[in-house]
């Protein structure tokens, strides 16, 4: 899922200062799961903002709403009838949601409330780590389920490089060498012969380097 982190509240306060009536808009999907932008975080942020402005003698209206998602038209439409009551929206959705809401409500300032970090998994309580960089041409079948694009610093397709030491990347002792992990996994799967096969040059045109991507499904269009 998309992993995001709450923006520091000082930053959000600076963002909203010019506006009088603010809607804090949360999202019930990824940002809820990584505890950054769901209903609970919306409540806390709205309460904190109210207290800040009251304590500083300023008047502001701060309302709260959480949508199922902010990356689908049907959910963003749910606020169409209340949007004119506000001067700005602080969206706690990921970057996708903030932008999609901004496109839908063109005259409404959309302010981000979280920093979108990566695509990742919830490894442990309070720990989310990156696993995928959406390269568009998945090679996980060849690498035993470990991604050399997101987890290898150099994104090599036939690793490891010469920098790996004791299974750690040359970036530092906290970063595992992805290719060490891949070799260990292929060994455990009994597929070390696959490792000997040299991978072909990767098609990077489907990566972000090839420009913003779109997915079109003619079979579902009506």
């Amino acid at each position: 899922m998309i992993i995001a982190e709450k923006k520091p509240i000082e930053e959000i306060i600076e963002e909203v200062k010019p506006y009088d009536r603010i809607l804090v808009l949360g999202c019930n999907e990824c940002v809820t799961v990584c505890e950054a932008g769901g209903k609970k975080e919306v409540e806390v942020l709205a309460s904190a903002l109210r207290m800040y402005f009251i304590a500083h003698g300023q008047v502001r209206t701060i309302d709260e709403r959480t949508l199922e998602r902010q990356c689908d038209h049907e959910y963003l439409e749910e606020i169409r009838d209340i949007v004119d009551n506000y001067d700005a929206i602080v969206s706690l959705a990921c970057g996708v949601g903030v932008q999609f809401a901004a496109e839908k409500y063109q005259t409404m300032p959309l302010l981000p409330g979280v920093n979108t970090v990566c695509l990742g998994a919830n490894e442990d309580r309070g720990l989310w780590t990156e696993r995928c960089q959406a390269c568009g041409s998945c090679v996980l079948a060849r690498t035993g389920g470990i991604c050399p694009v997101s987890r290898c610093a150099k994104r090599v397709m036939n690793g490891p490089c010469g920098g790996a030491t004791n299974g750690k990347c040359e970036l530092g002792p906290d970063t595992d060498c992805a290719w060490q992990l891949i070799i260990d996994r292929l060994k455990a799967l009994g597929r070390l012969d696959d490792y000997e096969v040299v991978a072909p040059i990767k098609d990077w045109s489907t990566d972000r380097a090839g420009g913003p991507r779109t997915v079109t499904r003619e079979d579902v269009k009506i």
């Binding site: 609970k40 309460s47 207290m51 009251i54 304590a55």
Partner: protein, 118 residues
């Protein structure tokens, strides 16, 4: 036990301090509270295993937020005691009230009262 406790606070009972969420603390301040104290079981003795640990983390989060908005993180605190320690509760209660009296009224309450008077 006929212990002397100050009367200037209100007790909200929970089945476990693990039920306390950050928003409950913040809302109390929004409504004009000068301080919020969470009294939970001794660490390791929680009937629900880690409820009091969660409460401690949430109190810390609330304190950070209150610092950033200008209310003051010293107005929230976590205490741990056993339900058999009556005199200790009395001592903590007195300590709580004295801490808050020294800090003065919450800026939120002051401003709300000022705007209501105006």
């Amino acid at each position: 036990m006929r212990l002397k406790i100050p009367t200037s606070f209100r007790i909200v009972r929970l089945p476990c301090t693990g039920k306390l969420d950050v928003i409950h603390v913040l809302r109390a301040f929004e409504k004009g509270a000068d301080g919020v104290f969470c009294v939970g079981c001794l660490e390791g003795d929680c009937h629900f295993n880690e409820g009091n640990f969660r409460a401690r983390k949430r109190i810390e989060q609330a304190a950070q937020i209150l610092d950033k908005v200008g209310v003051g993180g010293d107005r929230v605190r976590m205490y741990n005691l056993s339900s058999g320690e009556g005199p200790l509760f009395a001592q903590y209660a007195t300590q709580m009230v004295e801490t808050i009296k020294a800090l003065g009224p919450s800026p939120v309450r002051l401003m709300m009262e000022k705007s209501q008077a105006a």
